[in-house]
Symmetry: C2
Subunit: 188 residues, 2 copies
């Protein structure tokens, strides 16, 4: 079983046979470095699963560019609420390297319920997990300083630090690139 397939199974909680029944819903897409998978203001027509490479999720707000997340291998890439509500995206997804991903269209997403009996339960669990991740992120900002947030991310996901430009990482952590650089310096 491919790593990507097992990460989709994991993300949604499918059994292998459940996944096999909707396998064809996932369409491979290649994105060149620098190109966008999704742009702020466009309708969110696909949910992507990254197989190789990294996408950066970012948006413009309050006159700033803010990096919100990185989708690397095994992660999904989508403006979730835009996708589910059929609305326009609030964010951009841009490829930081050549990226290959599997795309699930909104139309096919809505057909999963016909193929997978438990889909209502699985979808609910999926959404709840997404909610929980954000909850923890809010709590991090309420209870930790820049260095603690850096350490937390580094402990959980050290690979990220040699895969993406540090100025984007700084933005995602809510600090300037200079501050991140100094924290790194301190640790080494």
């Amino acid at each position: 079983m491919s790593a990507l397939k097992s990460s989709i199974i994991e993300t949604f909680g499918f059994s292998e046979s459940e996944f096999n029944s909707i396998q064809d819903f996932f369409v491979p897409i290649e994105i060149k470095k620098g190109d966008h998978f999704l742009k702020q203001g466009q309708y969110v027509r696909h949910l992507g699963f990254v197989e190789n490479g990294i996408l950066r999720e970012f948006l413009y707000t309050n006159g700033k560019e803010v990096t919100k997340w990185f989708s690397s291998s095994g992660y999904f890439a989508v403006d979730l609420s835009g996708f589910l509500f059929g609305q326009k995206s609030k964010v951009n997804y841009q490829a930081l390297s050549d990226v290959s991903l599997l795309a699930l269209s909104k139309d096919n997403y809505d057909k999963i319920a016909d193929k997978v009996q438990r889909w209502n339960i699985l979808e609910k669990m999926f959404l709840t997990k997404c909610f929980s991740v954000l909850e923890n992120r809010v709590i991090s900002h309420l209870s930790m300083n820049a260095e603690e947030r850096y350490n937390q991310l580094f402990d959980i996901n050290p690979e990220l630090f040699n895969q993406v430009p540090l100025n984007y990482l700084a933005s995602m952590l809510g600090m300037t690139p200079e501050t991140l650089s100094r924290i790194r310096n301190k640790r080494s």
Copy 2:
């Protein structure tokens, strides 16, 4: 129609008749000022809708007490992921004043699907909205300073500022009470 009933209808997107069919699932509870509706570590057995008074959601983490949210009239009170997954609560809900609320037990929550045809859709929309609120909160911390976060909250929910102790509000905004006090001072 009572304000509380219409806020439940609004929260979940029920029609009035859909709500009527599950009306009995909601059980009134009174909580005395200072008492807890939910404690960190307890199983989350109920989802509460506040009718009167205010509850404070808070938790202990990294050696600090962090206020995460206030549930005032019309809002719900629950550790959502704990409730949906049948897990223990990560947070406390304490009454800042005498509170009356309607409680929906997990058992009854799971029975809504039998009574309301569209429940799967409505529940999904409800979860997506919750997700979206947290998304915006994360973005606030990535793109705004203390004063901007204060102003944003004040513009959206000014009543909060004369209903809850400001030191708790400061914590929810991710700043110290002194900083909040000085920002307030500046504005007046």
